[in-house]
């Protein structure tokens, strides 16, 4: 089945999974990633919910499955895309051109810019950080100290920052923040014995099979407190601690408390890379600026344009497992499009077993 | 010769023991409620004492209940108790032969062989009265020694005696048991050494004496042996009041007190002391306790709990985590009222725990022949309510559903938590409510309610569990049931079976509808479903452990369904049950015959749509 060529824009989870799935059937892949490294956001993460396995396991496995059919262009951005007949001419910023029979957009998401929620004081109050910042602390420092170098005695997590919020124009739920907050709450409690941890939530959306168990563990084993209500504002005290105001909606009363560290659960927004391609290719987007597939149920990986496919969080917020399934689905659609026989099974026996065989299994 | 220095340890020990016992018992008896003291006084010189004596013989000496539990265990206890008893009796009679005086000092018979050890007195044929006694004395000694051997074996491997776990020992326990175990070997030695010389024994002591004599200086050793024997006895007597063996005299007292009609009360009192001290720590209750064996909760079995009561510091967990299922009571050979003792301690903890139900406003119910009280738990199993109403309407019973719009709790849970005062508040409310119906019969679906209604409400009307009432309806042909080819097991709810002594009616009712297969543990021995409101302490996970155990016993003979007669049991068991779990009332509506009935059913259902 030689000769066929597919270009994938975005070297995150979706791009990697689609690339290896297609390459496994002998299709030539050009994987274009603007960053210097593959793996997207996950490569910046320490551990993953709900199992808390190291993120490296997943990125390692995904990159490890790329075979010789995959040409990786890191640190590379798309300049121009043109349709010539049935194929795509893609001009890169290193002035190389790629010709592909099909084009898959896996341009992913960006974290919501927490500064936009001015009232929470991100970038102004020393001890207000985002979930991503905290994850870096986990990965880099292996310990948690606040700006004053103090080990926090109380940490607060603010759910839905930039999600489900008309004031920032995001009407959707980012799906992964709730369980991420609970995961991080557990990790903080684990790292700092006796630290009081609070989650300020509107609804807890524990949709995954093991998420509820993690939620219960956080309460039962770690005594994490959950306060139902959305932060109205935060303020910095003289000692650098953060004073938060929220309504305890279950007590139907306003509540204020001091935390040594406030973590904002920034949601997912469509990436700048995606926006660029929207202009380049005149793609449709929905009211939340995510790419609009031909049909969200039935043709979730297709666009109106033949040979142009979508995968991953560029169409909507997704968890890693959802993204991987989505990428495989996209791969299958592309196979069909290229008039290749649809594969009967995905040839990656090791995939999915926790960590086992991660990074091996190149066929 | 009727005295020697060596008797002193025994003699003093005996006196000390007697004094301590007299002091202890009289103090406790003085502490009785006036009414109980009255009962005691009237009891002593009445036929009741004879009955009591009879029971003492059966239980304290023969250990009948022990035998029932396990033959070896029973024999061990019997051989010690009965053997020793006979040695004393027989020894006394034997001593009469030799002594001229009418009243011998108490040590005389015990050490008889020492005092009468001289040739001419001891020349007797085997087939003479003295010879007979000698023979008997050796037989009884052998009996006791056989028990001793078993005791030693039990030490090594208790499971032969049907005990998975045995009790832990205190210092005095160890002292007492060591001395106890030494007494009879030493007696054997002392008598044998003596017999070796004068042949004053029988088949055992004579031959054993000769054997020893063949390689030991028997004559020189006999005197020290008597000393040792006396010391062992003395040591045992002195340590007895502070050891588990206090149960020997106290159990006897308890049997008498019971026969005099003295009963345990809700509150801890001096009668409770008799009960606590009567516990032999035999340990049969340990394996009987599902919370202990399966929910891994320590300190619950009476053998442990009662000791903490002796030291007067029961901990919260051992006081509150017990299910009050009463299984240990069913097992207890001494028949101690453990639930009462447990609750008495909860009262002590609950003294400052308040509760006020001033918000309850009196209300009335229209009058009716029969009143039905579903109870809190039944409201969580509406199928039982519906079934009961269906049955009652089918049988055209004139009844009132007292708590159709929500119950005021019967008070049993508060009662079991040791909050008597608060329980009474609720009971008064319900009592007025029920009296307002002027009913003659009260039907209850929840055995928890049933127990306290019967025991504490003081309503002088007939109070029946629905299983009893339905059986009556069947017998009176008010409803007909069809029997089907169905195999079911019956789970005895604690409060219905052990609690209220209702074992048979539900079974008879079930037999009208299906074939009843046995559970591996049933009736008095049945295991709690795990949901009991008697425990406030244990976690839901621990409750599940108990349920699992119960389900194993219920499904031992592969029934197609489990029938119970308690909303709480039903709800608890059905969680993990491999087969369907039904309340007996639900089973009944499934088996109603007579077309009329089905018509009424339809009408009934329409009415309730």
């Amino acid at each position: 089945m030689g000769g066929k060529k597919v270009a994938i824009i975005g070297g995150g989870v979706a791009g990697l999974e689609a690339a290896s799935s297609l390459a496994a059937f002998g299709i030539d892949i050009s994987l274009i990633e603007k960053e210097e490294h593959l793996g997207g956001h996950v490569s910046q993460w320490d551990r993953l919910f709900p199992s808390r396995r190291p993120a490296k396991e997943v990125t390692g496995h995904l990159t490890g499955r790329l075979n010789e059919k995959v040409t990786v262009h890191t640190g590379t951005e798309v300049q121009k895309i043109e349709r010539s007949g049935k194929s795509w001419d893609i001009l890169l910023n290193n002035s190389a051109t790629i010709v592909a029979d099909a084009l898959l957009l896996a341009t992913g998401f960006e974290l919501f810019e927490a500064r936009k929620k001015e009232e929470y004081g991100y970038g102004i109050y020393d001890n207000v950080i985002t979930s991503a910042d905290l994850e870096k602390k986990f990965a880099r420092d292996g310990e948690i100290r606040n700006a004053q170098g103090k080990i926090p005695e109380r940490v607060g997590f603010v759910h839905c920052v930039g999600s489900r919020d008309e004031k920032v124009g995001n009407l959707y739920c980012s799906r992964v923040c709730c369980v991420t907050a609970v995961k991080q709450a557990v990790e903080v409690s684990e790292m700092i014995p006796g630290c009081e941890v609070f989650c300020f939530y509107m609804d807890l959306r524990m949709f995954g099979l093991d998420f509820e168990a993690l939620y219960k563990e956080s309460q039962e084993k770690w005594g994490v407190h959950f306060i139902r209500g959305r932060l109205s504002e935060a303020f910095e005290n003289q000692d650098g601690s953060v004073l938060v105001k929220v309504e305890d909606t279950l007590a139907a009363r306003p509540l204020k408390m001091k935390v040594d560290l406030l973590v904002l659960m920034s949601g997912m927004v469509t990436s700048s890379g995606t926006k660029k391609l929207v202009d380049m290719l005149g793609l449709e987007t929905d009211e939340n600026r995510f790419l609009q597939p031909a049909d969200r149920q039935l043709r979730a990986n297709e666009t109106g344009i033949p040979g142009l496919f979508l995968a991953g969080t560029c169409t909507s917020p997704k968890s890693i497992d959802e993204t991987i399934s989505d990428a495989r689905a996209a791969a299958l659609r592309i196979m069909e499009y290229l008039n290749l026989p649809a594969p009967t099974l995905t040839p990656s026996p090791n995939w999915g077993r926790d960590g086992e065989g991660a990074g091996t299994n190149n066929q | 010769m009727t005295f020697d220095l060596f008797v002193l340890p025994f003699f003093l020990g005996l006196n000390i023991l007697v004094v301590i016992l007299v002091v202890k018992y009289s103090r406790w008896i003085k502490g009785f409620e006036p009414a109980d003291r009255e009962r005691f006084r009237n009891g002593i010189f009445s036929w009741k004492s004879l009955d009591a004596a009879g029971e003492v013989f059966m239980e304290s000496l023969l250990h009948r209940k022990m035998f029932r539990r396990n033959v070896l265990l029973g024999y061990m206890h019997m051989s010690f108790a009965l053997g020793w008893f006979l040695l004393i009796v027989c020894g006394n009679l034997e001593s009469r032969i030799y002594s001229k005086v009418h009243l011998n000092p108490p040590y005389y018979p015990i050490f008889l062989k020492f005092f009468v050890a001289d040739e001419h007195v001891l020349r007797h044929e085997l087939l003479s009265i003295p010879g007979f006694f000698r023979l008997m004395m050796d037989v009884f000694l052998l009996l006791v020694l056989s028990g001793l051997v078993l005791a030693l074996v039990k030490r090594a491997s208790s499971h032969w005696f049907g005990l998975k776990k045995t009790t832990r020992h205190t210092f005095f326990d160890r002292l007492a048991i060591t001395t106890l175990w030494l007494i009879f070997p030493l007696r054997l030695l002392a008598e044998s050494f003596t017999a070796a010389h004068y042949h004053g024994g029988s088949f055992l002591t004579n031959n054993f004496g000769d054997l020893l004599n063949s390689f030991l200086p028997a004559e020189q050793l006999s005197y020290p042996a008597w000393w040792a024997y006396s010391l062992a006895l003395g040591g045992f007597f002195v340590s007895l009041p502070y050891s588990r063996f206090m149960h020997i005299p106290t159990e006897v007292m308890l049997i008498f007190l019971r026969h005099y009609g003295i009963k345990p009360t809700l509150h801890f009192n001096h009668y409770s002391n008799f009960e606590i001290q009567s516990c032999p720590k035999c340990g049969v209750c340990i394996d009987a306790c599902p919370v202990h064996t399966n929910a891994h909760e320590d300190g619950i079995p009476p053998a442990y709990f009662l000791r903490t009561l002796k030291d007067n510091n029961p901990c919260i967990s051992s006081t509150y985590n017990c299910l009050l299922c009463g299984r240990c009571e069913a097992y207890c050979p001494v028949g101690i009222n453990i639930n009462a003792l447990r609750v008495s301690q909860r009262i002590r903890y609950a003294k400052n725990l308040n509760g006020s139900f001033s918000y309850l406003k009196p209300s009335k119910i229209p009058t009716a022949e029969v009143a039905y009280f579903a109870g809190c738990m039944t409201h969580l199993t509406p199928s039982i309510k519906i079934a009961m109403e269906k049955i009652l309407t089918t049988a055209a019973v004139d009844y009132q559903f007292i708590d159709r719009d929500g119950s005021v709790c019967c008070g049993r849970p508060l009662w079991m938590a040791g909050k008597e005062k608060q329980a009474r508040e609720l009971m008064d409310h319900n009592k007025k409510l029920i009296e307002s119906t002027k009913c003659k019969t009260l039907i209850l679906s929840c055995p928890i309610c049933l127990k306290i209604f019967r025991e504490e409400y003081g309503l002088n009307i007939e109070m029946l569990h629905h299983s009893q009432y339905i059986l009556r309806l069947v017998r009176e042909k008010k409803i007909d049931l069809k029997k089907e080819d169905l195999q079911v097991a019956f789970h005895d709810p604690c409060e219905l079976g052990r609690g209220s002594g209702i074992f048979e009616e539900p079974r008879q009712l079930i037999r009208q509808m299906a074939t009843l297969v046995a559970a591996s543990e049933e009736k008095e021995m049945s295991i709690c479903c795990g949901g009991s409101l008697g425990s406030t302490g244990i976690s839901c996970y621990q409750r599940d452990e108990v349920s699992q155990l119960t389900l194993e016993t219920l499904t031992a003979n592969n029934p197609e369904a489990i029938i119970t007669a308690c909303p709480l049991c039903k709800k608890t068991l059905q969680k993990d049950s491999p087969v369907e779990v039904l309340d007996i009332s639900e089973m009944v509506i499934g088996k109603l015959v007579d077309k009329e009935v089905f018509k009424r059913d339809l009408i009934y259902q329409e009415e309730n749509l």
Partner: protein
């Protein structure tokens, strides 16, 4: 606290403020609350900055107080406001400058309504025409008078005779600012620095040598809340709001409270007295209160105007201690003498709050 972070936001929230030719409309209440302020504003603009600023005798309320008390319908409000605009148009001005924060909010609200619902604007024009025969143009530039002081803060600093520095210690004066709720909370992009970290007053304090003190309840309402104060039965809420702020700022030892709203300074000033009477609590150093200033008064101090001409004698919380710190000369004897020397009477001595007589 990371000031750079605030600067990022201040950059985002800058608005156009006209250079000259202002049509000034006074507040209903300020002239009685703080009589010196509005005249000082005009004096500064005319004499110090040489600006062309005019006001109109026929100008009326914007109905803000009635509107926020739910006693006039929005149509009425819009028509009344349309009339004010007509006065400006007739006077040949395009830059509308209300002295009242609530009015500023009202005007923004009305203009925004007209922007989104042109038919409403049409209707209002018709109503105004029918009622008064007047026509109007919408202001080209609508700013609050504090915005103008903010715009010219550097010029004022240059002409200034005093800086906001404690002459005994040489330290900058610690000042908390309070922005009227209707300044930016309704339309954040209409306020200098936005709604969360407004710069309009902070900018003055910084520019004139003082130190801005931020405190937890800074964003909280002063407690006026219209019906909360106007309905006597609700005044407990009003005073509770102010108290909440005082309690919150107290640990930061502020030496003055700077405001830009008619109500706020009045309540901060008077409630400090009421609270001291009710609970014996005062919030300044040794029994004094925290002086409350309007931005005009502060500018007046900086420019070296006579404190009594600025109207400090009408403050409940004495300002003298602050003046002494800065080193501003004043004649205590003249404190209670009116414009033409007649005695305007002294207030009673308060039980707890320190007064200066």
């Amino acid at each position: 606290m990371n000031i750079e972070g605030k600067k990022v936001i201040w950059k985002e929230y800058q608005k156009e403020i006209a250079e000259n030719d202002f049509f000034y409309v006074r507040s209903c209440v300020r002239q009685s609350f703080f009589p010196g302020s509005e005249t000082t504003f005009l004096k500064i603009l005319r004499e110090e900055l040489g600006k062309n600023i005019s006001e109109h005798p026929f100008h009326t309320t914007c109905t803000g107080i009635a509107y926020h008390s739910d006693i006039v319908p929005f149509e009425t409000t819009m028509t009344v406001i349309a009339r004010q605009f007509a006065l400006m148009t007739e006077a040949g001005f395009h830059n509308y400058v209300p002295s009242c924060i609530t009015s500023f909010g009202m005007y923004n609200e009305v203009l925004d309504t007209w922007h989104h619902f042109p038919e409403v604007e049409k209707k209002v024009r018709r109503l105004l025409k029918e009622a008064t025969g007047k026509e109007f143009e919408k202001p080209k530039n609508l700013v609050h008078s504090s915005d103008i002081i903010y715009k010219f803060r550097k010029e004022i600093a240059e002409k200034g005779k005093f800086r906001l520095i404690n002459r005994f210690t040489g330290d900058p004066l610690r000042i908390v600012e309070h922005i009227g709720c209707h300044y930016a909370k309704i339309f954040p992009n209409k306020g200098v620095g936005g709604a969360e970290y407004p710069h309009v007053l902070a900018g003055l304090i910084e520019e004139w040598g003082g130190e801005v003190i931020d405190y937890p309840e800074r964003r909280h309402c002063c407690g006026f809340g219209f019906r909360q104060y106007l309905v006597k039965a609700n005044r407990g809420y009003s005073i509770a709001c102010s108290q909440k702020k005082f309690e919150s700022m107290k640990p930061y030892k502020p030496e003055a409270i700077l405001t830009n709203c008619p109500g706020c300074p009045f309540f901060f000033d008077r409630w400090q007295y009421a609270i001291s009477e009710m609970e014996g609590v005062t919030y300044g150093e040794d029994g004094q209160g925290i002086p409350v200033l309007t931005y005009e008064e502060l500018a007046g101090i900086v420019l070296g105007y006579d404190p009594w001409d600025l109207g400090f004698q009408t403050h409940q919380v004495p300002v003298e201690p602050l003046l002494d710190k800065i080193g501003i000369p004043y004649d205590p004897a003249r404190k209670y003498l009116g414009k033409n020397g007649e005695n305007i009477g002294k207030p009673e001595i308060a039980s707890n709050l320190k007064f200066c007589h």
